[in-house]
Symmetry: C2
DNA sequence: GTCTACAAGATTGTTAACATTTGGTCGTCG
DNA sequence: CGACGACCAAATGTTAACAATCTTGTAGAC
């Protein structure tokens, strides 16, 4: 009834949206019922999500939502940093005038959400901006890798979003990225993106130091 | 009889070693027989390798070894470039004296194979060097991504290895990387790695221009 | 009271049969 | 001679039952 890819996407979304929390067990029968499909389809989805790094499977012991430690989240963000910088550079190279307008518009909307303290909306615009930059870059490989890395650290990203005063800093950094992309300056775009993610890493690091022991 | 992970690894190896060429169909029954297991295990392996980017699957039409175009191979190498530079920097930061000795030893062996024109052996040392750098870096995330990217472009890498005069250039570049890592200079290590992979990209680009129309 | 042995339940792993889809072949008709 | 359509074979997709494995709870011995 439901093709395998659909299950994979649905389950991925449900994990990312927090309906299944890190550590939660993923029982095949239960999922089969929930998504109205056979166990085989669920198994395939679990295998796929395991190689994506979102799910952990142990022989004869079943699957569970993978827990991501802080140190791992930092490494993920470091990898994202270099890849997104590549993307930003390529976006600066390939973006068209229409794209420029769209990027500027996103920044304006972000500015508005920050002024009104709408954390949720800001977070969505954040995702949108990064996604559009990936698409504009034309670099399918880097785009795919970054999308995956983002998913893996989604939980930690979430905590970041609700940190007080973080949106303001973040907004400036995003504006700088867009400025560089719009002006077609590849190196500046890459640098701005690196600076942005360095700042994210710093926050993660501080949070880790404060909470781990 | 054979656990799923084993099949996945075996099939991956057989694809990378060229026993299954790009475009070759991967029939479930045939593979089940070849690896002495059920179709279910084969299916799981195919799903896993599909999300790894090595296999292509089409609904109701079966799986085949994914073909990688030159432009895709270039993008793969570009992504590898930034990730391996990150790895080189981390390796420079974390490598211990024993590691330094090992790296220098690998370079010496490489020098010997180049002098004796042993392309095959050089290629293996090449892989070994990159792998050890990944391990020394301690950056599991970047290491995993690079390993995957290397697999995806394995076929094009192969063509590179047999190019005349390429080993000599490559050797100098690798020596530069090791020098930087051994001296603990993170930035220099990253730059040397970038230079190395830029050179690989250039070769791919020239080959592409010469062969695609 | 704690530890071990064992049995019951739950869950994954495997197999086999069945259903569906695809692609091609052959034959007929225009 | 070419085009259309019905069949047929091959392969994938799906389902259900069975086997193997792990976990949990319990009873008994020390």
């Amino acid at each position: 009834m439901a093709p395998m890819d659909t299950i994979t996407n649905d389950l991925r979304d449900d994990i990312l949206s927090g309906q299944f929390a890190p550590g939660d067990r993923l029982l095949e029968i239960q999922l089969a019922e929930q998504y109205d499909c056979g166990r085989a389809a669920v198994r395939s989805a679990l295998v796929a999500l395991t190689t994506e790094g979102l799910v952990e499977r142990e022989e004869n012991r079943g699957a569970s939502v993978r827990r991501i430690s802080i140190t791992e989240a930092i490494q993920i963000t470091e990898a994202r940093s270099v890849l997104e910088s590549l993307i930003a550079a390529q976006a600066a190279k390939h973006a068209l005038p229409d794209d420029h307008a769209e990027l500027r518009d996103i920044i304006e909307q972000m500015r508005s959400t920050v002024a009104n303290d709408e954390g949720k909306a800001y977070s969505e615009l954040n995702r949108l901006l990064h996604r559009r930059l990936r698409e504009m870059s034309g670099h399918d490989i880097a785009a795919e890798l970054v999308a995956n890395l983002r998913n893996r650290a989604a939980h930690h990203q979430y905590r970041l979003a609700v940190m007080p005063g973080r949106s303001a800093d973040s907004l400036d950094q995003h504006a700088a990225i867009v400025d560089a992309v719009v002006s077609g300056d590849e190196a500046a775009a890459a640098d701005a993106m690196t600076a942005h993610l360095e700042s994210v890493i710093e926050v993660l690091q501080r949070w880790g130091d404060a909470n781990v022991r």
